[in-house]
Amino acid sequence: MSLSLPLLSAVAVLGLLGIGLLGLLVTRNLIKVVVGMQVLVKGAMLALVLAGKLSGQIQTGQTLALTVIVADTIVSVVALAFAVQVRRQFGTLDLQALSTLRR
């Protein structure tokens, strides 16, 4: 069995999504959570490019991925800004500290 490019990309998409979700589940550090989110969205971006390739519209797929990069950057910037504030107010980046609001 030879590895074609789409198949390889599909494996990469699944890998990125898996790593991203696992990262979100197991880490307790806010910065690492942001990294996990980034990895997850990178998987989604690659999926869009792959979808463009599969449907024969490579340009559209890449355009979508570019737009997602912009949106994703904004979300990450906001998330990191929150992280800075959390470090200032709580003195830690541990997500366990962020559970004062109960029920």
Partner: protein, 508 residues
């Protein structure tokens, strides 16, 4: 005004005004004054957005959807989009007036108004996106502006915590939606909603996966249980005007985005309706049971939003699964009513919170005990809050009863024992919800004033005015529910026409 021009104005106005509002406020603050220009400019922008909305409304209601293309992006304003745009414009205008005294003197006040207007613009855009990816982009703009508004009090630990939870859950939801879009794109080679609907004639694993991803991804924003955990934190920690926006229109915009995305996959599976009904039942019971045990007023209202999403989901589920237009009409009517009722509830609670705590520099939350005897000192606010909670609980002469009733009637139109049982369950839930709404009214009118109330500040005119407007709207719509038929009916017919293309739901 020609409809395309009106649509352009409606979309461009808030998004262009937002940076101007920020700059106007910022420059004035730098000059050593207050951020007053930002306050008035935001109210003015939203009032001005009413003009193109009026013309667009006439065009859509008389001549059907208005299409507009910008490059390869296609926008279509139909009945559903018009209802969302109208609800958003009205509520945001009232919130911006309410916020003038509420946010006066807060650090970063100009940012608040700029973000508020941008969020309203994004929701109007979301209503008329005619392309899956475009829908996602508007959705993301709305989400990012709401992150910043939820964590607006960035020195407050609670607000930060709520912001972080909200951000992480929303970001994961957005990524799932993107993967769903990739599935649809790979399968059909198009993202235009009508073309996807035409191309998705039979069910394939990819399209089913896409539908499931849309359901979960948008479900985070719609607060479908068990994806609702961000909601009580975000709604209770945000500034009160923003709580009203989040509860009144943002989660509903998420619902409309979800229904639009699922709508283009309607023929793929006949079980979307069953899923929506099941989530509706879960939302009602979890929302109500959790609301019962809350001691903070805003947190209680937040859980009540979860349960009200349940009623809307039941209405739409009946429409999706059984093709009953009345269900969608009830769902849309409840969506509009909920914006009014929950907007009123959060703003009235916000007025009390401001007078009792914020005006004295405290950021404590408003507890149920604080409300004791509030009616003596704050007759208008207490009346507004009572009308809001009684309408939410579904007491007959108020608007909440009318839309719930329409949804329940639609459920019985299905002639399906399962759905009828679900409707009875929903009605019982509605009664259960009175168990936490009624004591609230009792506290305000029958108890001795608490020391907090006795020491409270006055409610200013600008804060009371939106409360009076919304109270009147809730009462008027309760007596004449037909007033909204002109918009909910075309929206519902359009909605059902999308879904009825697919095979009817055989059994629940």
């Amino acid at each position: 005004m020609n409809p395309t021009l009106a649509l352009t104005w409606l979309l461009v106005l808030p998004l262009v005004a937002s940076p101007i509002i920020y700059l106007a406020g910022r420059i004035n603050v730098r000059l050593g004054a207050t951020a007053a220009p930002a306050r008035w400019l935001s109210a003015l922008t939203l009032a001005a957005a009413g003009i193109p909305l009026w013309y667009l409304g006439e065009a859509v209601l008389s001549g059907g959807p208005v299409d507009m293309g910008v490059g390869t992006i296609s926008l279509r304003m139909d009945g559903v989009g018009l209802l969302l745009a109208g609800t958003v414009t009205v509520l945001t205008f009232l919130v911006s007036i309410f916020s003038i005294p509420y946010m006066a003197g807060e650090e970063g006040e100009e940012k608040y108004y700029a973000l508020l207007v941008a969020m309203a613009g994004a929701m109007v855009g979301l209503g008329c996106a005619n392309d899956l990816f475009n829908l996602w982009v508007w959705f993301e703009v709305m989400t990012v502006t709401s992150f910043l508004l939820v964590a607006f009090y960035r020195q407050q630990r609670g607000a930060l915590e709520a912001g972080v939870k909200y951000l992480v859950q929303s970001a994961v939801g957005s990524a799932l939606v993107l993967i769903g879009i990739a599935f649809v794109f790979a399968q059909t080679g198009t993202l235009n909603l009508q073309q996807v609907l035409a191309a998705s004639t039979h069910s394939t694993p990819q399209m089913l996966a896409a539908g499931a991803l849309f359901l979960i991804g948008f479900g985070v924003k719609t607060a479908m249980v068990p994806l609702h955990t961000w909601l009580p934190d975000a709604h209770s920690q945000a500034p009160s005007g923003i709580s009203a926006m989040l509860s009144g229109v943002v989660i509903e915009a998420g619902l409309i985005a979800m229904l639009r995305a699922l709508g283009c996959l309607a023929p793929v599976s006949s079980t979307w309706g069953a899923f929506i009904l099941a989530f509706g039942a879960l939302n009602m019971v979890v929302g109500n049971l959790m609301a019962l045990r809350q001691t903070q007023v805003k947190r209680m209202f937040a859980y009540s939003s979860v349960s009200h999403m349940g009623y809307m989901l039941i209405g739409f589920g009946v429409a999706v699964g059984y093709g009953i237009a009345n269900g969608a009409a009830g769902g849309f009517f409840h969506l509009f009513n909920h914006a009014l009722m929950k907007g009123l509830a959060f703003m009235a609670a916000g007025a009390l919170l401001y007078s009792l705590h914020v005006a004295r520099g405290s950021h404590d939350s408003l507890t149920l005990d604080d409300l004791n005897g509030a009616a003596n000192r704050y007759p208008i606010t207490a009346l507004a809050l009572s009308v809001a909670v009684l309408a939410l609980g579904g007491l007959p002469p108020l608007s909440g009863f009318m839309s719930k009733w329409q949804i329940f009637v639609a459920g019985f139109e299905t002639r399906n024992a399962g759905v009828e049982a679900l409707v009875i369950f929903a009605a019982l839930n509605s009664v259960l919800s009175l168990a936490y709404y009624a004591p609230l009214v009792n506290r305000m009118y029958r108890h001795e004033p608490s020391p907090t109330v006795a020491a409270g500040h006055n409610v200013s005119f600008l804060m009371a005015a939106p409360l009076v407007v919304l109270t009147l709207a809730v009462i008027v719509l309760g007596f004449w529910p037909g007033l909204m038929d002109f918009i909910t009916h075309p929206a519902a017919v359009h909605f059902v026409s999308i879904f009825s293309g697919g095979p009817a739901l055989a059994q629940f």
